[in-house]
């Protein structure tokens, strides 16, 4: 399948500072891609290049297999992190303007504006200026303005920041709806709960480099596979371990927990056998599946070590 958007070894610098270093990524039709990274990692720079706003210094970007061209922006939707609307313009005029900018003709644009105002129950506010409506409503207008033309690819920079929880849920709902209709979505965020809920694929960017990417299940099972958490009611300090635990801690409800790394010679079956044959009863046994948050923190920490400098 041809990726809807694909970056090949993209580089971008501002003056002496390299902001994107050899970044490659692929987004297949219907996928939702989460771009993660600490502040200043270079997410927005990458997103701007994908959204045709700026050009890479080197490397290539393809849209549906063709080299990216500004005309492709008509088939994309884009919402930047820093958002704004014309304050003196009415809600309906504003939506009409953006729909026409994205290539819809007057009649199509009017029909779309009517559809979305009705769907968002904002018909009564259509003629109100942006400065006269609530911030929450303006947020809805902002989001709708970039999806009215039914884009094939939707690029959102920190879509959940600054939105109230009700609107954040609405956006989530709309993103999933667009995905069902075949739209591919790429968004940057630092909210891991949204990533787990929405994304099929993630990429982690740190200091301008992509340090990890892949499907969520792949990532979770990849580098982090074979770890098991075992819990007891009492401390196991004086016991001989089959392997050295990689981590041990006490939970709030008083369980003594240990995490073991299994291997070919010492698999989960052996671990369980050992645990169940101890004098203290085993009360917990589970494979450890890291959260995206843990993966993110671990990855960023790892790339902060001097070997990666």
């Amino acid at each position: 399948m041809t990726p809807i958007i694909s970056a090949r070894e993209v580089n971008k610098s501002f003056g002496q500072q390299a902001v994107s270093k050899n970044i490659s990524l692929d987004l297949l039709p219907g996928e939702i891609y989460g771009l993660l990274g600490p502040n200043g990692a270079g997410k927005t720079t990458l997103i701007r290049m994908l959204a045709t706003i700026t050009q890479p210094d080197s490397g290539e970007i393809f849209f549906n297999g063709n080299p990216l061209h500004p005309d492709h922006s008509q088939r994309m939707g884009y919402m930047p992190e820093e958002r704004g609307l014309y304050k003196k313009m009415s809600v309906a005029d504003q939506l009409l303007f953006f729909a026409q900018l994205r290539g819809l003709n007057q009649a199509e644009a009017k029909a779309k504006v009517k559809y979305w105002l009705e769907r968002l129950e904002m018909m009564d506010w259509a003629k109100k200026k942006i400065e006269e409506i609530s911030k929450g409503m303006a947020q809805k207008v902002q989001f709708v303005s970039c999806i009215m033309h039914k884009p094939e690819l939707l690029i959102l920079d920190e879509p959940f920041s600054g939105f109230d929880p009700v609107n954040a849920d609405l956006i989530k709902e709309l993103i999933l709806e667009l995905q069902q209709e075949g739209c591919s979505i790429l968004f940057s965020t630092h909210r891991m709960d949204n990533v787990e809920e929405l994304c099929s694929k993630i990429g982690i960017i740190h200091r301008g480099e992509k340090v990890m990417d892949g499907s969520i299940s792949e990532i979770k099972r990849g580098n982090f596979s074979g770890k098991y958490d075992v819990g007891f009611h009492e401390s196991m300090e004086n016991t001989a371990y089959p392997v050295i635990p990689i981590k041990s801690w006490i939970t709030n409800d008083g369980r003594y927990m240990m995490r073991f790394q299994t291997s070919e010679n010492f698999g989960p079956q052996q671990l369980m056998q050992w645990a169940t044959t101890q004098s203290t009863p085993m009360v917990y046994f589970s494979e450890y599946i890291p959260s995206i948050h843990d993966i993110f923190v671990a990855t960023v920490d790892q790339s902060n070590t001097p070997t990666h400098e």
């Binding site: 500004p70 919402m79 930047p80 014309y86 003196k88 953006f98 900018l101 994205r102």
Partner: protein, 462 residues
Amino acid sequence: MSNFSNIWVIFKREYMTRITNKTFIIMTFLAPVLIAGFYALAIYIAVADETESEIHTVLVSDQSKQLKLSDFSNYKLLPAPDYDYPQQRIDSAKAYVNRGICYAWLQIDDKDLTVLDSTTLYSEQAPSLTQMESINQWISNQSKEKQLLKFGIRPTTLDSLDVSGSVRLMEISEQGVASNSSSGLKSGIGFILAFLIYMFIFMYGAAVMRGAFEEKTNRIVEVIVSSVKPFQLMMGKILGIAAVGLTQVAAWVLVLIAIVFIGGTVVGKQKMSEFKQQSSAISMDSTFASAGLPTANNEMSANSNPVAKMSALSDFLSGTESIPAGEILIIFVLYFIGGYLLYASMFAAIGAAVNQETETQQFMLPITMPLVLSFVIAQSVALKAPNGSTAELFSMIPFTSPIIMVVRAPFGVPISQLLLSLGILILTFVFMVWLTSKIYRIGILSYGKKPSWGDLWKWIRQ
């Protein structure tokens, strides 16, 4: 979507939001009224003879014994009581003026009036410059009359020797047709048109700058430039605002025509009868004057002579014959648009480059300087010598040509010069748009530190 349709969408938004703005609508209808009122006031002040109606008594102590006391201006001259000693005369002058017995005391101690060096006017309030001038003139006229009589020449004989009327100007066209002309009228038209262009560039150039700046600070620009190229956004904005300006000027012209038309029909009927009376009185006066007889106006100086005024007015009006109205209009519209486009692109780049309105000031100077300079040149050189080499030079430089050329337009500009100047203007405009769009493209997405001239140069080279 093609480049053109993108520019069109931006253009439409700029035009529609501005034209439906309440301030625009109010200014469109109020401004002509204000401008008309302003000019009416200016003309009234210039035309109305500021004479004080109050009659002032001036006591004249004439030691030359040569002066004939006659009233002039608003002065009533009476002989002052005579005293033998100079000090007595000064003391009583002070006393008379202080007690308000007279407005002023004119002490003439010169025996020979051809040289005034000990003639003094004692007054509590300093008279105006023109009032002092009229007193000097009064003494000088009387002195002259005395001298002339010595040579046996009567003043009326001298008056009859004065040349009446003024040189009429006839312009010969290339086809050899002569037509009445008026330099005054041409200068006036040229100057008004230049002023309109000057105003338009400043007003709407600033609107372009503010528009770009607002889009940048509102953060809306990033969404827009993901659909249109910054160049298209800039052009759509510049052209949209130009259309707003042209609409406004067209509306002003219509409103002004309406004011003149309505005002003309209402006032015209009243004034017509007054005018008829006045002109018959003038013709009577001039008949008397030519016959060497005294008339009611014979004390007026020649420059306020109503005959001269009327003939100047008729010359002025008949001068419209030689005004190439169609040509002026075409030149005006071309330079109006060309000048605006050239400057608006620079204003747009500034608006895009800065982060705060106060930062615009450092970049404004190089833009406003040529504009102000061309307006100064328009007022001096171009009006005095519209076809001189200075005027020709500045009507070729694209930054000054829009203003200088329209000043020259009523006097007739050779077509070769027009084409050359327009060509240079268009090329410069294209170059400037290319240059400024580079600044605009980077500036509009650059936030944070205050840009320097070095930054702008870096953006151009990127």
